[in-house]
């Protein structure tokens, strides 16, 4: 099923980019020569900029006139509670979307309605013009790395009330290839079987706006930058792009912002991410952070330039800047750069907060999130990348974040770990094995005296609507399936964890709409820390305090 053909110029550009990325002249020793790459290349795993161009460290021209001594110089479009003089437009929950680039709350490819606030926490709805389900926030997006959510069918994704999932551009570009996804299958939605055709017809017309063709979920793709620097061997960042070694062909590839956007255009996700200069949050080279911050702004411009479908795919920039939240620091510089672009070029439909979840301290983590939420526009969605621990979600929602993604729930499921409000249940542990059968009477006894507190013969969570818990599959049963390496065990635990995350964000949303988010947070912390207030970490206390919430609960 083919999409509408792009114009000739775009096709020519695409071919040029494809050729450029192949680097077929790489010498036989596998190491690109200095002539083949721009400056700033190193051939070891540590970035060793040589030579660094002076302009990479200089303040970009658009920021030279910004007075960072003024409070909130890098903030814009702020409403209550940040700006008490400006009321946030609250829209009733079922309000139909409008898609207009001239509207203050929407673009032609995204409509953002805020349905309620409670302190800094927001409950909103994101609409896409694609016949897909609305995305309510707070929202967790499970990661379907290679075009599938491990062992879960598209119908099951929808039945778990999951309106949006994430796919990895890097993995899909390598296998099967984004060009194939686009030209043969008409985009990743079609490829994954994520479109339900209500009439059983043989019409192959891929008209996404056809009422008979409903998308079961929406898609967000990342740029591939993080995977390249974390997974690929010989990964080096240059001004042109990221040089990496393909894990399959072993040849050297150059992924430029243009290439990343082209791949994401071909995938056809509803939200796409810019290619940013990703630096580990535990690195220490200050100059490198500065280069990465400004390069992220330049690469965003190139991504916008290369983006072929702004009217149906929303390009989110990623706020970088290491952990520097000082006034006039790197984070503010990056924010100010995006502010300039939003106000003077093209309206940005939403923002991502990057550079976190990479090993930094929790104290730094929440401060960066807090800083970003205080500065980013309130009438656009805010997406915190790579965060997926339930506790982190609750705290960051209190600070004002709307969207999250992480491999944690699905990955930990494959290790037999189930998520609950109290933390984790490690189902593979022996305590969840069926009880000792006695020698004569070989009957599993529910009243076995061992492990009475474990209740291994009960479901993970009796109130959970997932497949396993709803059917009464006991922890014992899951334990035996997991120990036997039966795929059903992994499938059931994966579905439980995804359902749990969906239920968590739904409960958060409900409490925000009912203006009882404070009580929700207190109850969550009470269960999570087993009613021991002393166990609540300092960073959680500080973060909630900054959000204007009390972390203490009534014993």
């Amino acid at each position: 099923m083919k999409r509408k053909a792009t114009d000739d110029a775009a096709v020519a550009t695409s071919n040029t980019i494809t050729t450029a990325t192949r680097m077929s002249d790489v010498p036989s020793d596998g190491v690109p020569s200095q002539q083949q790459l721009d400056g700033g290349v190193s051939y070891n795993n540590n970035y060793d900029p040589e030579p660094i161009r002076p302009e990479w460290l200089e303040l970009p021209p658009e920021l030279r006139s910004v007075d960072f001594t003024v409070d909130g110089a890098a903030a814009w479009d702020k409403y209550e509670p940040y700006n008490p003089q400006r009321s946030l437009p609250i829209v009733p929950v079922d309000t139909p979307p409008t898609f207009s680039s001239s509207s203050s709350s929407s673009s032609s490819a995204l409509c953002f309605h805020i349905n309620g606030i409670d302190g800094r926490a927001r409950a909103a709805t994101i609409h896409f013009p694609n016949n897909g389900p609305p995305v309510t926030t707070p929202r967790f997006m499970p990661v379907g790395t290679k075009g599938t959510l491990k062992g879960v069918l598209p119908d099951e994704i929808a039945s778990m009330e999951c309106p949006i999932i994430l796919a990895n551009t890097y993995h899909l570009a390598i296998q099967p290839g984004t060009e194939l996804i686009d030209q043969v299958f008409g985009g990743l939605h079609n490829f994954m079987g994520g479109i339900r055709r209500d009439t059983d017809n043989n019409d192959n017309d891929n008209n996404d706006n056809n009422d008979n063709n409903k998308r079961l979920y929406n898609l967000l793709t990342d740029s591939g930058g993080f995977q390249m620097v974390s997974l690929a061997a010989l990964s080096n960042v240059t001004e042109k792009g990221v040089v990496f070694q393909s894990p399959y062909s072993k040849e050297h590839m150059l992924l430029r912002p243009e290439d990343s956007i082209r791949c994401q255009n071909e995938i056809g996700a509803d939200v796409i991410m810019q290619l940013d200069d990703v630096i580990s949050s535990v690195a220490t080279n200050e100059d490198r952070f500065r280069i990465a911050t400004f390069r992220t702004l330049r690469w965003y411009d190139r991504c916008v330039q290369a983006h072929q479908y702004p009217h149906r795919q929303n390009l989110f920039p990623i706020v970088q800047g290491h952990l520097d939240t000082s006034r006039g620091g790197l984070r503010e510089l990056c924010l100010a750069g995006f502010k300039h672009r939003d106000q003077h070029h093209r309206r940005i439909p939403g923002f991502a907060i990057g550079g976190l979840a990479g090993g930094e301290s929790k104290d730094d983590f929440w401060k960066v999130v807090d800083h970003a939420c205080r500065h980013l526009p309130d009438d656009r969605p805010r997406y915190l990348m790579g965060v997926g621990y339930p506790l982190d979600l609750v705290v960051c929602t209190a600070l004002g974040v709307d969207m999250y993604d992480c491999v944690y729930p699905t990955r930990t499921a494959r290790f037999g770990v189930a998520l609950v409000d109290e933390g984790q249940i490690k189902l593979k542990q022996h305590q969840f094995a069926a009880k000792n059968p006695s020698s004569a009477d070989m009957t599993i006894n529910n009243n076995n005296s061992n492990n009475n507190n474990i209740n291994s013969n009960t479901p993970i969570d009796k109130d959970c609507p997932c497949e396993a818990c709803r059917r009464g599959v006991s922890k014992e049963r899951l334990h035996s399936l997991l120990k036997a390496n039966n795929p059903i065990g992994v499938q059931l635990v994966t579905q439980h964890n995804v359902t749990y995350m969906m239920q968590l964000v739904t409960r958060m949303r409900k409490s925000i709409l009912e203006r009882s988010f404070q009580q929700f947070v207190q109850e969550f912390l009470r269960r999570y820390f087993a009613d021991d207030q002393g166990s609540v970490p300092t960073w959680v206390r500080d973060a909630l305090q900054a959000a204007g919430l009390s972390w203490r609960w009534t014993p």
Binding site: M1, K146, G147, T148, K150, G151, V152, L153, P154, E156, H171, Q175, P176, L180, V184, F185, F191, M192, G193, I195, R196, R197, D200, N201, N202, N204, H430, Q431, A433, A434, N436, P437, M442, T443, I444, N450, N451, E467, R471, G472, V473, R477, S480, L481, K483, A484, N486, P487, I488, V490, Q491, L492, Q495
Partner: protein, 440 residues
């Protein structure tokens, strides 16, 4: 039961439908390892393979009823009570598994609407069957365990609560390529009868005699015919001992129903005649076509899913636009693959399956089988061949799930075709045979 065949040739000879004048309704008995249907969660099972689809489930004590045992609390002298020499119980270390044992466990509730058959094991890897009159060694997921006949009777009848239970058996190496030792065969035969009697006694106490099936062994093809005839006569003369069904263990081959063969002498009041294992598509359809058996057991859908192959051969007459040719021209080595090129169709294997790891599927937007209404192919091919190929390349579990659902659906469709009676069973078999490679 016999292991899967490793040769790639399909069995070739004409179908013999002369032995059973009246066709029984046929059912497919699916192996359910670990006591659950492979790959499908309860909702998928109920939605796509309801009990009315003719699907029966085969559970084995070998993997569904083996549980770890932990150290029991030990009594140790209390350190501070040496004078009184009192001892106290020290809690057992929870992590230390002492061994494994067979124990009863109820089946998963969503399996209860299905007709279930319990067997001792699906396959036993023992080259030498270690058995005595009281027990037999069984290979479980946790190593070799000894399964006592009393334990089996209790676990199978009271624990798994299946509709039918095959009595414990020692197959005496019928799967072995060597001729079984006659002494061993005699001993195994004696044990099997003893165990059947024990199970029948248990069943009588529970008024459940109609739930018992006795095992009957099919002699391998390389065994002496005289020995075979003696064996089969021996089996039939023993009779069913009141059992409601007979489960044939071993590899089916032609000729076992003809002449004065003992199988033909199975009493008529035996309602259920089940062949526990079929190992190829052709074998499956030929046995289904004969009409002698009313239950045919197989693990093929799951095996094919694990091998990443999809069953696509169809028994309908006329050309199918979806079926590849048995041969295909050589692919151009530099070919990158444009749109689907029917000249480069994938090849069918001897089971009528296509290998989904074949690169020829990479750009194929078609479903596995056009018009198929299975979970994978429905709605005009929601999951295309190209997507399934990608999942196979990416080593994703979803590939096996989709392939299993399709393969099982296809096999149930074959069963339905035989049951409908609209076509001559021999015609169905010949049609399928004509589409398989290497079939004469």
């Amino acid at each position: 039961m016999s292991p899967n065949p490793v040769d790639g040739t399909a069995e070739t000879s004409s179908v013999d439908c002369s032995c059973s004048p009246k066709r029984e309704m046929l059912h497919l008995l699916l192996y359910c390892k670990d006591g659950c249907v492979p790959y499908l969660n309860p909702t998928q099972l109920e939605q796509y393979f309801p009990p009315s689809s003719g699907l029966w489930l085969c559970l084995s004590v070998q993997d569904a009823c083996v549980f770890p045992m932990f150290d029991k609390p030990v009594k140790k002298k209390a350190k501070d009570d040496v004078i009184n020499k009192k001892t106290k119980e020290v809690p057992a270390e929870p992590k230390k598994v002492r061994g494994y044992a067979f124990a009863s466990a109820p089946p998963d509730p969503w399996l209860l609407p299905y007709t279930r058959v319990t067997v001792p094991y699906f396959s036993n890897k023992n080259k030498e069957q270690l058995a005595d009159n009281k027990s037999i060694c069984v290979w479980t997921p946790h190593g070799r365990q000894r399964l006592a006949s009393e334990t089996y009777a209790k676990v199978a009848m009271e624990g798994l609560q299946s509709n039918y239970t095959v009595s414990l058996f020692d197959d005496a190496g019928v799967s072995s390529v060597k001729q079984p030792d006659s002494v061993r065969w005699q001993k195994a035969h004696g044990r099997n009868n003893l165990w059947l009697e024990q199970l029948v006694q248990v069943a009588k106490q529970q008024d459940a005699l109609d739930r018992i099936w006795r095992p009957v062994f099919l002699p391998p093809s390389n065994h002496d015919d005289e020995v075979n005839n003696d064996a089969m006569t021996n089996e039939s003369q023993t009779g069913s001992l009141g059992a409601a069904g007979v489960a044939f263990v071993g590899k089916w081959r032609h000729g076992l129903l003809t002449g004065n063969n003992g199988m033909a002498q199975i009493p008529d009041d035996v309602k259920w005649k089940c062949l526990l294992s079929t190992t190829s598509l052709l074998e499956f359809v030929e046995i289904a076509a004969q009409g002698y058996f009313n239950i045919v057991g197989t693990d093929l859908p799951a095996l094919w899913a694990k091998e990443k192959v999809a069953l696509i051969v169809q028994p309908q007459r006329g050309p199918s636009t979806n079926e590849p040719t048995a041969k295909r021209p050589k692919l151009d080595a530099d070919e990158k693959g444009g749109e689907t090129d029917h000249a480069n169709e994938p090849t069918l294997d001897f089971n009528g399956c296509i290998d989904m790891s074949d690169k020829v599927h990479a750009r194929d937007p078609r479903p596995l089988v056009e018009g198929c209404t299975c979970m994978t192919c429905q709605h005009g091919g929601r999951f295309s061949r190209g997507y399934i190929h990608h999942l196979v390349c990416a080593k994703e579990l979803l590939a096996e799930i989709l392939l299993f659902a399709h393969n099982l659906h296809h096999m149930l469709e074959l069963i339905r075709l035989f049951n409908e009676g609209g076509s001559d069973p021999a015609d169905i078999v010949n049609t399928i045979k004509s589409r398989l490679p290497n079939a004469k």
